[in-house]
């Protein structure tokens, strides 16, 4: 919805003349921007097809709001030879606060930059707070892992936040999906940048050794295969579930 405006009568265009049926004539720019951001959030190809229809449309859709909502999942992490248009597009997405951009940049900075890693973590956290699921998972894993040299300022508050995200993802049955996606990105970073950051899971969340209510699988299989198996059973120890998650995450990256 466009911003609040005077509630009193605003004359709407009631007829489109034959000569001016064009969408850019019939609708004000702010509505076109809202439509374009819906298109952008589904497919970049469709967005580009819309942009290329006319100069006017190109100008109207060149709006931060559209960049912010652009769907970047299909954009590869890296290209051997950069495409200038794509590059400038992605830069614009970043500066407009696109959540996928924040996640990618933040994760990269966290793992690869020994000086800016806290800033990187800040970006991942910001995207997580705004509801970006992969960022939620990445933030949680970063908080739950220990790397002696860079403990940083992660305390009980961050731990609570991290566990909150994991619970939310579990309720939406997408922990495994997020894990796979984050692992894919972290593996790419590792391979491409060959970072040698030493990482290890922090001490177990569950303090009972051995835990009597330990997290078990619903089915007889010996590993968690799908998100549907990840049932939130109140009788099982939640900490054990997250200990397993950290273990699995570290095993795969």
């Amino acid at each position: 919805m466009t911003d609040s405006r005077a509630p009193k009568r605003i004359k709407t265009t009631t007829t489109c003349e034959e000569s001016s049926k064009c969408v850019t004539y019939c609708l004000p720019n702010e509505i076109l921007v809202d439509i374009a951001s819906k298109v952008a959030s589904q497919s970049l190809a469709d967005l580009y097809h819309l942009k290329l229809t006319s100069k006017e449309m190109m100008n109207i859709t060149d709006d931060d709001y559209v960049y912010k909502h652009s769907y970047l999942d299909r954009v590869p992490f890296f290209r051997m030879r950069e495409i200038p248009q794509e590059d400038s597009f992605l830069r614009r997405c970043r500066s407009s606060g696109n959540l996928e951009s924040l996640y990618r940049q933040g994760t990269k900075e966290y793992f690869l930059d020994n000086e800016l890693y806290l800033k990187g973590l800040g970006l991942v956290r910001l995207a997580a707070q705004k509801g970006h699921k992969r960022s939620m998972y990445a933030f949680a894993m970063i908080v739950l892992m220990r790397s002696d040299a860079r403990k940083g300022s992660l305390g009980p508050k961050e731990l609570e936040e991290a566990l909150g995200y994991l619970r939310l993802l579990r309720n939406q049955k997408c922990v495994l999906k997020c894990r796979n996606e984050v692992v894919e990105f972290v593996r790419f970073l590792k391979w491409f940048m060959s970072f040698g950051l030493e990482m290890a899971p922090r001490e177990h969340l569950c303090r009972n050794v051995p835990c009597t209510n330990t997290w078990r699988l619903r089915t007889g299989s010996w590993c968690l295969l799908t998100d549907d198996d990840d049932e939130n059973d109140p009788n099982m120890c939640e900490s054990c579930r997250w200990d397993l998650e950290v273990k699995e995450f570290f095993a795969t990256i």
Binding site: T12, D46, L52
Partner: protein, 162 residues
């Protein structure tokens, strides 16, 4: 506002009268403000004008009446499912003839749900379309010169133009 009134009469920009129930009118912020400001009763002869043409207003009121019960009381998942199906059917309409008017009306009447639905419908129409197909659907005039066209084709090898 008098609580005895269940429906109010509004005028379209074409001067036609329409009845809308109070609970449905509440979906629109400006109408809600009007309800609070003005005393609507049977002997009140002030009829507010809504600057939306009759054809569009019929659709908007249809949407409001359908969505009002859910907005006021909340609904179960099966209701939400049914409502979604209804929305899809409801949005099967001609683009320039009515969809644009619905967008304008929803924006003007501050109806978030309808506005969102109409934007999504417009966006869905572009799914998988080429540049020239989108131009045709939305009557967009191609204002690029042929040289500029050529350049765009070179710059965007992944895009389908025709």
């Amino acid at each position: 506002m008098s609580s005895s009134v269940e429906a109010i009469t509004v005028l379209s920009s074409d001067g036609d009268e329409f009845k809308i129930t109070v609970s449905a009118a509440k979906l629109s912020k400006p109408l809600n403000w009007m309800l609070e400001d003005v005393c609507f009763s049977d002997d009140c002869d002030e009829v507010p004008t809504i600057e939306v043409n009759s054809k569009t207003l019929v659709k908007v009121i249809e949407y409001c009446e359908k969505h009002a019960p859910r907005a006021n009381s909340g609904a179960s998942d099966s209701d939400a499912e049914e409502l979604k199906k209804w929305d899809i059917e409801f949005m099967k309409m001609d683009v320039k003839d009515i969809l644009f008017h619905i967008l304008m009306a929803a924006n003007y009447l501050h109806m978030e749900g309808l506005y969102d639905l109409a934007c999504q419908t417009a966006a869905d129409l572009m799914k998988g379309m080429t540049v020239s197909q989108i131009r045709k659907i939305f009557h967009i005039k191609n204002d690029f010169s042929s040289e500029e066209q050529e350049q765009l084709r070179r710059q965007h090898p992944g895009c389908s133009f025709d």
